[in-house]
């Protein structure tokens, strides 16, 4: 199947006033090299073209493949390069090296064709006339997108209904709440019914209810209209909730790219879980069981849990992350013990994000997900 979006070794540098340092490109004979004096002819040409350094690298070789119909999330801290990547894909920024394709169309060489297949919702790029109604604004853009009158009317009616703005369509845009403004941005992006939609921080600035409503719309777009959705977000819950796959970008480099579950799991090489018993366990029994469990290949350790009265009531087990825990449970059950609860201590996507972006180490004791 053809990739909806593909980037190959994508590099973007921005001019900077900062003195050259490790992260600043200053390649001799390349972009804005030291060998080019400001008053030389080639120096003047580079000033005119905007290719004179020094530069800071916003993207440092991005390789991504996003399949048609996929919901793909781009996670990263501030300044990681998320917005730059989205703007390159929607032809608002020109990359310096590498390639980017939308359905095989080169975004640098064929921007017009690219824009027929893709639209973006950029929160800071409103572009609406504050004095016109929501509907008038959409009518204006429908003409810019080349829709015929009847087609535009039908499409606008459908989109206002889809986003729940129908009742407020004749209100002035300046009376819209932030959530409504975001919905109108979505309406505009959907006017020409592009196959690919890019979202830059879609729920930023929205209250929890509006954010949930917006996410629900994204899910409907993916499920019912088979749109390919590419979104950048800080919101890890949002990413885990709606994305089929995610990539973590940090300082211009993709550091991980997989399903949310795999990303969570890739940061640790063991699983940790507590087994709590319904009844108390005697010392001898516990010792024998711990020894027996420790002999299982893949079990790295088993520690008895003792309550405040000094009674054994559970076990904490460290095991290889691929181990089938039914072997462990078999041993426990065969010893006549009843299991009250199993607590799985797995890393969340936030833990994974922090580890991958080198912000923090994961400690199993800090998190607990319960499985009954």
């Amino acid at each position: 199947m053809e990739n909806a979006i593909e980037t190959i070794a994508l590099v973007k540098r921005y001019p900077t006033n900062a003195p050259p340092r490790r992260n600043v490109s200053d390649i001799r004979g390349g972009f804005g090299g030291r060998g080019v004096g400001p008053t030389s002819f080639s120096g003047i040409i580079r000033v005119l073209k905007g290719t004179k350094g020094p530069f800071i690298e916003a993207l440092r070789g991005i390789d991504l493949k996003i399949k048609e119909g996929e919901v793909f999330g781009l996670l990263g801290p501030n300044g990681a390069g998320k917005t730059t990547l989205i703007k390159i894909l929607c032809t608002l920024v020109i990359h310096d090296e590498g390639e980017a394709y939308i359905y095989g169309l080169d975004v640098k060489k064929e921007p017009s064709k690219v824009l027929r297949n893709l639209q973006a919702v950029l929160p800071e790029s409103r572009g609406f006339s504050w004095r016109l109604t929501g509907r008038q604004n959409l009518e204006f853009y429908s003409l810019l997108y080349g829709l015929r009158d009847r087609e535009a009317k039908e499409r606008i009616d459908y989109l206002l209904d889809f986003t729940g703005l129908k009742d407020r369509a004749y209100d002035g845009y300046q009376r819209y709440s932030t959530g409504m403004q975001r919905k109108l941005l979505l309406c505009r992006a959907l006017l020409q019914d592009s196959h690919i939609l890019l979202f830059d921080e879609p729920s930023a600035g929205l209250d929890p209810n509006s954010a949930a409503e917006f996410r629900s719309m994204l899910r409907r777009l993916s499920r019912d209209e088979k749109k390919t959705i590419f979104l950048s977000t800080h919101n890890l819950y949002e990413a885990q909730d709606i994305c089929d796959r995610i990539a973590i970008i940090d300082r211009g480099i993709i550091t991980a790219c997989d399903t949310p579950d795999n990303i969570r799991n890739m940061t640790v090489d063991e699983k940790v879980f507590n087994v709590m018993f319904l009844d108390m366990v005697f010392n001898d029994d516990m010792t024998k069981m711990v020894n027996q469990l420790s002999e299982i290949i893949g079990v790295r350790g088993a520690m008895p849990e003792v309550d405040s009265d000094g009674v054994f009531h559970g076990l904490t087990i460290h095991a290889d992350k691929d181990l089938d825990i039914s072997t462990i449970l078999d041993i426990i059950i065969k010893r006549g013990l009843k299991i009250r609860i199993i607590n799985s201590k797995e890393p969340t996507l936030e833990d994974a994000f922090m580890i991958i972006t080198n912000r923090q180490q994961w400690h199993p004791s800090e998190n607990t997900n319960q499985t009954r």
């Binding site: 973007k12 921005y14 001019p15 005119l48 073209k49 905007g50 290719t51 916003a58 730059t84 703007k87 929607c90 032809t91 608002l92 920024v93 020109i94 310096d96 017009s112 824009l115 027929r116 639209q119 973006a120 950029l122 800071e124 790029s125 409103r126 572009g127 609406f128 006339s129 004095r131 016109l132 008038q136 009518e139 204006f140 853009y141 003409l143 810019l144 997108y145 080349g146 002035g172 505009r188």
Partner: protein, 272 residues
């Protein structure tokens, strides 16, 4: 017959700006009042210094000369400033993502301002004629052609100005220089030939290198002297004026494209 999409898009811009304009009611009233105050202000000035204008437009009174000049001047300003006033990061990024062509973007953004200027030209001509006694000898085909050539020159200038402004994010130096020179050399309030008498012979040559001079000259020629397009000397002057359009339109187009491309490369399209 189906209206071409480019024209429909220009109409969309015009409608948007018109609707938006009508919502600012106090501004609408003040602009209408400004038109009438402007006519009377210039009319009284012209009446005070009234004398024939022997240079270039023989048989024309100063009031006729000035009223047409000021009216045409009102056409020029919005065309050069029209796109600039619309340029903000929210509009530019979003509109460029719709894939519209550069000429449609530029013409669309100035069209309402231009239409309003043409509408405001009418009271200038009516009040000038009936109240101050200005005598117009309008040749309609020449006037239409003069307006078309003027619009082409000014759209070229608007594109240059916009392209530079996208990069500089403030005043563009080239349009600024042209506008500075215009105030002295374009002949808004006096025939440019008069410069030779005031300063030294030959200085008026500078005027003919300014696009605005040709806009004023062709419009005055058509509206004050009944210049027929069958007259070879008139045709030559219109041809000379149209050279500016032929030169400025592609330069403007390229400058706009350059400005957008450079801004995209620097990642500053959304900056203002």
């Amino acid at each position: 017959m189906e209206i071409p999409i480019g024209l429909r898009q220009i109409i969309a811009f015009t409608k948007r700006d018109f609707y938006s304009w009508t919502t600012y009611r106090i501004m609408v009233y003040s602009q209408i009042v400004n038109i009438f105050v402007g006519v009377f202000s210039w009319g009284v000035t012209a009446e005070y210094v009234n004398k024939p204008v022997p240079e270039m437009y023989s048989g024309t009174s100063y009031i006729s000369f000035l009223i047409v000049g000021v009216a045409v001047g009102n056409l020029i300003l919005p065309l050069v400033q029209g796109v600039q006033t619309q340029l903000n990061p929210w509009t530019l990024e979003t509109v460029l993502m719709t894939n519209i062509s550069t000429p449609v973007f530029v013409i669309g953004n100035v069209m309402w301002a231009y239409i309003f200027s043409i509408i405001s030209l009418i009271p200038y001509l009516i009040i000038g004629t009936f109240f101050f006694g200005a005598k117009l000898n309008i040749n309609i085909p020449s006037t239409v052609l003069a307006f078309i050539i003027s619009a082409a020159i000014l759209v070229g200038l608007a594109m240059i100005s916009t392209g530079l402004r996208i990069v500089t994010k403030s005043t563009d130096p080239i349009t600024w220089i042209i506008n500075i020179l215009q105030s002295i050399f374009a002949g808004i309030a006096f025939p440019v030939a008069f410069l030779d008498k005031i300063f030294f012979p030959g200085i008026s040559t500078i005027s003919w290198f300014l696009p605005q001079t040709w806009v004023y000259h062709l419009c005055r020629l058509a509206m004050l002297t009944d210049a027929s397009l069958l007259n070879p000397s008139v045709i030559i002057q219109f041809f000379e004026g149209s050279i500016f359009a032929i030169v400025f339109l592609p330069i403007g187009y390229k400058t706009f494209q350059w400005g957008v491309k450079r801004s995209k490369r620097e990642g500053t399209l959304g900056w203002y």
